[in-house]
Assembly symmetry: none
């Protein structure tokens, strides 16, 4: 995707060296991602990645010491995308807010594309496992923190078990891709969002939040 000018006509005869190398590195990264995602990490060979990127086998090793390092680069390039923005539950209609957050986060995850391979990798690479565990714990903390604030402001069910709900939200978010496989229709983030809101807010609070949001952002998302 970064090489959208490959085929353009009338451009400079050549890109500066640095850039060409970068381009090749990116092609390899992208090919790696593609193949990891469609065939799995183990099933993908360095040779294949190179071929898919249109370079020779040896070139792969110019840019990456091995397959694992390419994977790590993929993760490092993208891991920050895993962190969703701190949601603010108090202002606005939490349902639509959450829905858009969900959708955005999900989009990020899809772009990352690696969800499908990570479980495989985690088993063989404890370092990676820890790395991912950390990221996950961070997201969990954010969710938990948001819930705490909401609770302290009296917005939630008053017997809300913060940790259990935070965990549930995390899991639902992490799995919101792929519920289309079950029901056949596209993932409806609006509906998931409703489900989550019902876990957190009593109906009256929810209604009230909806109304106040309507005033601030009339017809938004209408």
């Amino acid at each position: 995707m970064p090489d959208h000018d490959d085929l353009m006509i009338g451009e400079f005869p050549s890109l500066p060296k640095q850039e060409r190398a970068q381009q090749k590195r990116n092609a390899l990264l992208e090919s790696g991602l593609d193949l990891f995602v469609s065939n799995g990490y183990e099933q993908t060979t360095a040779k294949e990645i190179a071929a898919h990127a249109g370079v020779a086998t040896g070139t792969f090793y110019r840019y990456f010491s091995d397959k694992r390092q390419l994977l790590m680069s993929l993760l490092e390039d993208k891991i920050d995308k895993l962190l969703p923005p701190e949601p603010s539950w108090m202002s606005g209609n939490p349902e639509s807010l959450l829905a858009s957050l969900l959708e955005a986060h999900n989009k990020r995850l899809s772009e990352l594309g690696l969800q499908r391979v990570l479980p495989e990798l985690v088993l063989k690479d404890p370092g990676l496992a820890e790395f991912l565990g950390d990221a996950r714990r961070k997201i969990y903390s954010r969710i938990l923190f948001g819930l705490k604030q909401a609770k302290e402001n009296g917005l939630t069910w008053n017997d809300l078990d913060l940790e259990a709900v935070a965990w549930a939200i995390l899991v639902l978010v992490e799995n919101s891709h792929g519920n289309d496989k079950l029901s056949g229709k596209r993932t409806d983030f609006q509906e998931i969002s409703k489900v989550i809101c019902r876990m957190v807010f009593p109906p009256d609070v929810l209604e009230q939040l909806r109304v106040s949001d309507e005033k601030n952002n009339p017809k938004f998302n209408g």
Copy 2:
């Protein structure tokens, strides 16, 4: 596990041939499971499985055409355990009912042990993917069916999105192992159960169900 009585003389022809073979097959299945779970499917070699089961490499191939087939046997042997009993939401305290269902299902899954390897396998084996998808869809249907009944009986929130909630329940159930990794404490099925119930039942219905249950099963779970 390596049977050193092979060479003893004068003992009973202890096990009928058939049974000894069955025993060996089981040892292989178990070894396969152990090693798949702890090292991953790709990382486990047929030789290792055989060694772990105390038989020769070649013997592996007498009982299974290859590694994949052993895996499929594992799944077939255990896949029925994936189907939780049809839950009846209408009778009894749904929270504790659900909690025990959850716990039981989770125990089954742990025994199966393969959750950790399945994602890896699904990528390389579309047949397996379909197989597992089917099982998943079956569970989903059961949940959906139970919710439908509850809704028809006016027990649920009346704007309940059946499919979204069924999906959410499925996801929470599937992931209920491993929430201990986040919060540090053991998975609390009671709490997960509460979260789910809140998605489904309005508080008053829930209270009512709780009371009626108390009458039928006084002091249960007290």
Copy 3:
């Protein structure tokens, strides 16, 4: 060379397993030696060794973890042959004594066959370098010790520099193979022996030792 019965007829249908494996290991060792000697260590591939031994590539790795280990086995099997017997200079005709020692030692070295490759290996494997250096030092010590005794008994030139001569002898011995390449004729150990004796003994002592030897072993080597 240990498999001299390969082609014998009328033997048992098969050798016991252990022995067959040993045979294969030996075939690999021998092939390794052959190829190392004729092509050099670096120029020889594991695949070639296997092919030369008549086995598959993988079989090589059943018996040796890699090429280097095969080499080390070769050395360990044969390194004791490097140590010549302690020569006794005082009794007998030193010239013929030395000649036969030389010839024997040379034969051992040829059997070892590795002289030609060792220099190459020593460069890349300091461990091996030390190993061989030790062996060499041991031989040097033996020679030196023999010379010392001879000197103490007043048999040698009285201004003999023991260390220089010991070194010279060692070098001549080590290189006594391959002087045929220069002169065209076969290595004449008798002549080398004479050269060495002249370095050590004055002519009169030498004559005397020759005579006394003649008495003890009349017509020997005549």
Copy 4:
């Protein structure tokens, strides 16, 4: 060694092109020698040599068709140094004469530096083997010729085996480096020289030669 004056402006076209090229060629030769000697021929890559010489990989191939050719150039550049000057045994004190010849020859060999790698190379390159063999035979001939003259002049032991002694001298000369590894002390060419003289000259002749030398070159080497 990396010339950072490449980009300086306004300086002399400092070196004529030809000379700059020569300089680069020399840098490559030197780097090749260094690396061959310290790491071995096979273990040294063209890339390394280029990097060590401060030029690009491709430049290597402008000056040498391949690694082998660089080696051959090294040898050709230096091979004439292998030929020691024709020694004249008859005039002067042969011991000190020989000692200085030895030392000089040894210094040449050390400068050449390649003794350590040659055995490796000889195995894979019969052409090289022949080349070196020729040089060696030339030296041998010179030694032999000198001995012949000495013998004809009645200076040597009269039963001297010319060829055996010539060979011995050659071997001792070739190996005179590295006897320090055994005894610990520096190579003592004077002592080696004595050893050789004892092989060639009877003590009385030697004494006489010494005396006559003292007259011609009083206090030399004092």
